[in-house]
Amino acid sequence: MNKNKWGFIILGLAIFVIGITFPFWYGKGKSTPPPLLSLDTPAITALTEKRCVEDTAFMRANHMKLLDAWRDEAVREGHRLYTAKNGRTFEKSLTGTCLQCHSNKEQFCDRCHNYVGAKPSCFNCHIIPGEVKQ
């Protein structure tokens, strides 16, 4: 084994270095632009004030928690109205509220979710807007 020692050392170190630096050469140095979210739907274009249920920063970070809370409150407790921080009220409904504006799932929901590898289970039950027509 002794005469092979340096062969094993170099093999081991090569595997280690390639493994650690893997992300650097996996993308071949190409920069990938972050996803652009399309807000270009008829319902959003028609809005005068382009504001989601809450402000954009909150929605970006917390939409999944908001939807989770909505589901529990609406389905289990029967509270179907949500009052936003600025006093507006919304029906707690993915299909009835969210998807009325964001009717472009592929250009909106999916772009970020695919980019960060998130697999939400919304559409295991809910219908994807426009899918029936296709």
Binding site: I20, P23, Y26, P34, R60, V116, G117, P120
Partner: protein
């Protein structure tokens, strides 16, 4: 005292990270310089440590033998417990690296009715395996931020890891198991008096640092969600060598990032180097072939030998005169 030192050290690091989020220059340092510096120190330090170990002379075979050595064909030998060649060594190393076989052998002795009673004590083995396994899964899951398009297989692993679909975002089993294992390993050092006595500040520090990284990570997932799109853009910026500062990711992310940088930079100088060291342990990676092959110490000096023939040549006359028998006349 050692415990206190390491708690204070982790808290200072967390405060330092929080302080660094205060202005743009330090945020730039944290997001664009520290990660590269940490990975460079990690790689260079790791390689240096491995080469130092590799250069250490191991002239003789010193494997720990746990079974019958290979000898005569009709004596049953155990090639994994007492390997005689490369295949046995590879098998033994694989069991050691992947399943922590030597930890599994741990025994404990207890006095029962005035007699010492020995029994298996595999808790450390179990939680050690859980800890390392979940750490591996967590690191692999993080590849979703480091690769674009996301490496195939990561989605499947993530789905299996979160198959309970508890809460939104899904609670990962590996996160729960990592925390459970860290708590066990930490509490073990605290409540076991002999172990507490031999525990150094660095021993606690490693556990607390990893625990702090895990807790900040869980915090960002389950309590105060962070903007993952910004996080991924930041990571892809590192990977394509064009880093830019993220917007609105929150202080917890910076603590998480800074603690990981500290862990990476400290790794090659700590006991965590057992990751590389396990491969270079002479008591594990040598074949026990001392009987079938002669191993010479390579730095033995030349020994001045005076053989009997030379002695007799030198003193033959005197030996004959004294009436002593000689081999050559």
């Amino acid at each position: 005292m050692n415990l206190l030192i390491s708690i204070v050290a982790v808290l200072i690091l967390m405060l330092l990270a929080m302080g660094m989020t205060m202005n743009h220059v330090t945020i730039y340092f944290l997001t664009a310089i520290a990660p590269y510096a940490a990975i460079a120190v990690f790689l260079a330090g790791f390689i240096r440590r491995i080469l130092l170990w590799a250069k250490s002379p191991v002239p003789f075979r010193i494997p720990t033998t746990c079974g019958q050595e290979k000898s005569l064909p009709w004596i049953k030998s155990s090639p994994l417990e007492n390997p005689s060649g490369l295949p046995g060594v590879i098998g033994r190393m694989a069991l050691e690296v992947l399943l922590f076989r030597s930890l599994f052998r741990n025994t404990d002795v207890e006095m029962i009715d005035g007699r010492p009673v020995y029994g298996s004590a595999s808790w450390l083995w179990f939680f050690g395996l859980v800890f390392h396994g979940s750490l591996l899964v967590i690191i692999l899951r993080h590849l979703r931020f480091f690769t674009e398009p996301i490496l195939p297989g990561i989605a499947g692993l993530t789905a299996v890891d979160g198959f309970l679909e508890l809460a939104i975002p899904t609670l990962y089993l590996s996160d729960v198991m990592l925390l459970a294992a860290v708590i066990f390993l930490f509490v073990r050092r605290i409540i076991n008096a002999p172990l507490r006595y031999i525990s150094l500040a660095a021993d606690y520090f490693a556990l607390l640092l990893i625990a702090a990284i895990a807790v900040t990570g869980l915090w960002m997932r389950h309590i105060q969600p962070t903007d993952l799109e910004q996080v991924k853009a930041l990571v892809m910026g590192w990977v394509t060598l064009s880093p830019h500062s993220p917007q609105g990711v929150g202080v917890v992310f910076f603590i998480h990032l800074f603690l990981i940088c500290v862990l990476l930079a400290w790794f090659p100088f700590s006991k965590l180097m057992h990751a590389g060291g396990v491969f270079l342990s002479p008591t594990r990676n040598l074949a026990n072939n001392s009987r079938s092959q002669r191993h010479m110490n390579p730095w033995n000096g030349p020994v001045l030998v005076h053989t009997y023939e030379e002695y007799e040549d030198e003193f033959r006359d005197k030996m004959k005169a004294a009436g002593l028998p000689v081999e050559k006349e």
